[in-house]
């Protein structure tokens, strides 16, 4: 059920890696940018703590990914951690609530970018995914991708029952960034566990199936303004984007043609699909700049009609 009948589409071409170094760098552009932001954020924390980095006499970024203070004034906090703490039935100071609100708004606008642009665990799971491709390993079992939403719900229920932030207390992500920034300890074994799980047991096992933090940002990402735009008229359905996507269920050609973009909140805006598309049918755009393709069926909701009116 594609918007344009398959018979009238051009024949599919597959992605061919560029021969020149410049071309390779161009195609790896978003990947390089993602690594720069991932390492850069950790480096800002690390440099502020260990080397006393300052801007205008203020510490650059104090704390870690759970909660921090930017330039001595702007509080930031992990909204899911704060939500768990509130679920545990404890009042919190305004500073951390404001910090959580700031990031909540940011990720609601930018989408699930925490997972692919900030979270240090992404480097671990990307390495596992890359190696898995090299060795052509099979999954040990299948797991619903929706499992993570149940894990997220359970984190909140357990927080209420046990009186502590249930996921924060066992979070391998927090252990990883905390120990990278504040000193290496046994917490890194949690990251090793996830690496092995992703490599040998289940493809995209942690980020794609279990992580409640990713589930939280995924729910938030449904409202995102920043989207992967989809041009149905040039798409040949070659499937290269689906092959590289860590959340392939978000690349639904029919839905994408109807709205002119990837609408699912689970999309991490990682941009793996953008440079690999042989027809340049995918790129980043703001929600209101994405239009359904002329041949696509009419949008169903009145909202999207309004949104898509130029």
């Amino acid at each position: 059920m594609s918007a344009i009948p398959l018979s009238t589409r051009r024949a599919a071409r597959l992605y061919t890696p560029p021969a020149t170094l410049a071309g390779k760098l161009h195609d790896a552009g978003y990947l390089i940018l993602r690594r720069i932001t991932q390492v850069g954020v950790l480096l800002l924390f690390f440099g502020t703590l260990h080397w006393g980095w300052q801007v205008m006499g203020q510490p650059v970024l104090r704390g870690n990914l759970s909660a921090s203070e930017l330039l001595g004034v702007i509080p930031l906090a992990d909204p899911f951690a704060v939500l768990q703490q509130l679920a545990s039935g404890h009042a919190l100071q305004a500073t951390v609530l404001l910090g959580a609100a700031i990031l909540l708004v940011f990720y609601a606008l930018a989408g699930r970018v925490f997972c692919s642009w900030v979270c240090p665990m992404n480097m671990v799971t990307d390495l596992a995914g890359w190696l898995r491709g090299k060795f052509d390993l099979n999954n040990l079992f299948r797991l619903q991708r929706g499992t993570r939403y149940w894990v997220m719900g359970m984190a909140l229920v357990l927080s209420a029952l046990m009186g502590v932030a249930a996921f924060e207390w066992v979070s391998p992500i927090s252990m990883l960034h905390r120990e990278i920034i504040f000193g290496v300890g046994m917490g890194l074994s949690a990251a090793l566990g996830i690496f092995i799980f992703d490599l040998l047991i289940l493809k995209h096992g942690w980020c794609g199936h279990l992580c409640p933090l990713g589930a939280f940002y995924g729910l938030l990402g449904n409202a995102a303004l920043l989207r992967v735009r989809f041009d149905d008229s040039s798409c040949t359905h070659c499937g290269e984007c689906v092959r590289v996507c860590p959340e392939p269920q978000v690349l639904n050609f029919k839905k994408a043609a109807e709205s002119g973009m990837v609408t699912a909140g689970a999309c991490t805006n990682c941009a793996r699909c953008v440079p690999i598309c042989p027809e340049d049918s995918l790129d980043f755009a703001l929600r209101w700049d994405a239009h359904p393709s002329p041949g696509a069926s009419q949008p169903r909701t009145p909202n999207s009609t309004v949104r898509n009116t130029p």
């Binding site: 909660a67 203070e69 992990d78 704060v82 100071q93 046990m162 502590v164 207390w169």
Partner: protein, 260 residues
Amino acid sequence: MQASRREFLTKAAQGAAVAACGGLIWAQLLRQEAAASVLALRPPGALAERDFAATCIKCGQCVQACPYDTLRLARAEDDAPIGTPHFVPRDIPCYMCSDIPCQVACPTGALSPELKNIAKARMGLAVIDTESCLSWQGLRCEVCYRVCPVKGEAITIENRSRVVSKHALFVPHVHSQACTGCGMCEDACPTEKAAIRVLNPALVQGRIGSHYRLGWLSDTPITQDFKPPEAPPAVGPAVTEPSAPKTAPGMDVLNQGIDP
């Protein structure tokens, strides 16, 4: 129809079972993690341990604010729930900054902003092992007393005389109403393993109970009972030398005739 309903119910039951198993294991992990709480010494102003555990977001801003590198975020192998700030006095004690920078840095209120005076902090309680304390053996040490930042209140030296031919002991005592638990005494103690240590008060402090009355410390109703009844107000000129009454309860024939 029957089959699909049966299938649905089975699926639902199985899903619930997986959730229950996962939840139980997860809860057990949390309980295990929390068990280390009682061993941890927290930064000044920390809420009661249960509230602290729930409100601390483990961001490490207190650790970063500490000018003496006293505070650390607990790693998995430390005696504190993972990621929470704690300190080990024998390594680096709390030097009790008067502006309490760790507490100021806390974004959640896990280090309560209500603590204004560092001397009112209660991070722990110093406890003396009298069997390894040099002063208690009869040597003149008293190092803990000298380094104590609330000297003379948190630690006092008591002089105890002994039998002839042995000089008096000068022994340290800790007073919980003034001890902040900073751990400078533990850090300074010269014995191989510190003879004075800071611990969570919950591990060492007892409670007398309200039904015991230390009568010598206060005017309790019991001592009031034994006070002699007050004399009636004097009427007429005061009698300087009261004489024995002619009659009184208990006087009988044996008392007669002996009056002068």
